[in-house]
């Protein structure tokens, strides 16, 4: 019989125990577990995730452990809202508090959610970053994300012409 907890080793060599239910919310860990059925229960190495970030991921999984699986959720939503664009509103109060962190931490969690393939958490982090970008100028975005401007003035003029406002627009 499979044990109820799983050991994982993080990038900073910490061994963390997490419940099988939480571990299975990560498609990456889940497929590793399926692959290693019958093998010795060694700690699963997660070299791309630090212990600090993994704890955050576990916190999120604990709060959302009873949520319906993402596929079921989409099917339910599609009955009513099939033609709506992607909604970036974060409705859960707990989630709002969860994303209220430094950008560095948010990006770390986003990368971890992508690596671990935790769909709900990945969506939440993407929504939060998208909300961060809304209403900001390119300069503000570059400053916030530490990106260097590598576009020429000609490139920018062409983009403004193709996507910018026209005089007749109200």
């Amino acid at each position: 019989m499979a044990s109820e907890s799983i050991s994982v080793t993080t990038s900073d060599d910490q061994t963390i125990q997490l419940s099988r239910k939480h571990a299975q919310m990560s498609q990456t860990i889940n497929s590793m577990l399926e692959d290693s059925v019958g093998a010795d229960q060694e700690a699963i190495p997660l070299p791309n995730v630090s212990s600090e970030v993994l704890k955050k991921v576990i916190d999120w999984c604990t709060h959302h452990e009873n949520d319906p699986a993402p596929v079921e959720k989409v099917k339910k939503l599609n009955k009513k809202r099939e033609y709506k664009a992607k909604n970036s509103t974060i409705s859960d109060e707990w989630d709002k508090n969860f994303v209220n962190a430094e950008l560095r931490v948010i990006v770390d969690i986003l990368l971890a959610a992508n690596y671990l393939d935790v769909k709900g958490l990945f969506e939440l982090m993407c929504k939060h970053i998208a909300n961060e970008l809304k209403g900001k100028t390119p300069d503000q975005i570059r400053e916030r994300f530490g990106i260097q401007d590598d576009l020429t003035e000609e490139d920018k003029a062409a983009m403004r012409k193709a996507w910018g406002a026209t005089k007749n627009d109200s």
């Binding site: 010795d40 950008l103 690596y115 929504k127 970008l133």
Partner: protein, 242 residues
């Protein structure tokens, strides 16, 4: 038995190794593909967002003004944002969203893009949304668009709903943009479903209604609904005959 277990372990180890190696390689290349853009002293860590992650983030940005701001950040963001926008256009989701939010500027821009197929049946959805939200500017833009062909029957229920919701300006904008034949169809539909107030409104618009049709409608209205509800329409029909 031991061989099976050993085989399982080997497969698992190999699988984990391959997964880690591919992720490590992805991170390695994405770091170097971005490192030239990042100020060395400023949190370069935040800038390591791979293309697939950026694409996903941009999927949540629906305002066209924000699209442009993101495109103007750098080459990588420009390519990902334009890819994200272009790939969502055939589904018309941005158009639905803009029609719902009443963003006239973005609606015009989307309608002018060649990848937005304005000839399909699904065009009635943004129009229905704009009508029910009362965005008369968007309704005018959609109805007057030279390539959008809409029969009044396609959208009749949305027009009636908008009217009952009090979105009078949007409904008038819709009838102003309709050809006379469409108004005539809408008028007979409104009478048939007892939408007398809406029928009275349509009657203010120019369309062909011959004497025989006028008399027929007057007779029909007599037997439908209470007098208070039908009197305005009857008066309007009588005035039209003068």
């Amino acid at each position: 038995m031991a061989m099976i277990i050993a085989g399982g372990m080997k497969r698992a180890t190999l699988s984990i190794f391959q997964r880690q190696q591919s992720t490590a390689m992805r991170s390695f290349f994405s770091y170097f593909s971005l490192s030239h853009k990042v100020h060395p002293m400023e949190v370069p860590h935040c800038a390591i967002l791979q293309d697939d992650i950026l694409f996903h983030i941009f999927g949540f940005i629906t305002e066209s003004s924000d699209w442009l701001q993101c495109m103007l950040v750098c080459q990588q963001w420009y390519h990902n944002m334009s890819w994200s926008v272009q790939s969502s256009l055939p589904s018309k989701n941005p158009l639905f969203h803009m029609a719902m939010k009443g963003n006239l500027k973005a609606t015009r821009r989307l309608l002018s893009l060649p990848r937005v197929d304005v000839n399909g049946q699904r065009m009635k959805v943004p129009l229905a949304i704009a009508l029910c939200q009362g965005h008369d500017g968007i309704v005018t833009e959609l109805v007057r668009h030279p390539h959008i062909r809409l029969e009044s029957d396609d959208i009749a229920v949305a027009v009636a709903s908008a009217w009952s919701l009090g979105k009078r300006k949007a409904v008038r904008a819709y009838f102003n943009g309709l050809p006379p034949r469409g108004r005539s169809n809408a008028f007979f539909w409104a009478v048939a479903v007892n939408q007398f107030e809406l029928a009275t409104e349509i009657l203010q618009q120019p369309f062909h209604l011959d004497e025989r049709e006028r008399q027929m409608v007057i007779e029909k209205v007599k037997f439908r609904g209470s007098r208070s509800k039908t009197s305005k329409l009857t008066k309007a029909l009588i005035n039209r005959g003068k």
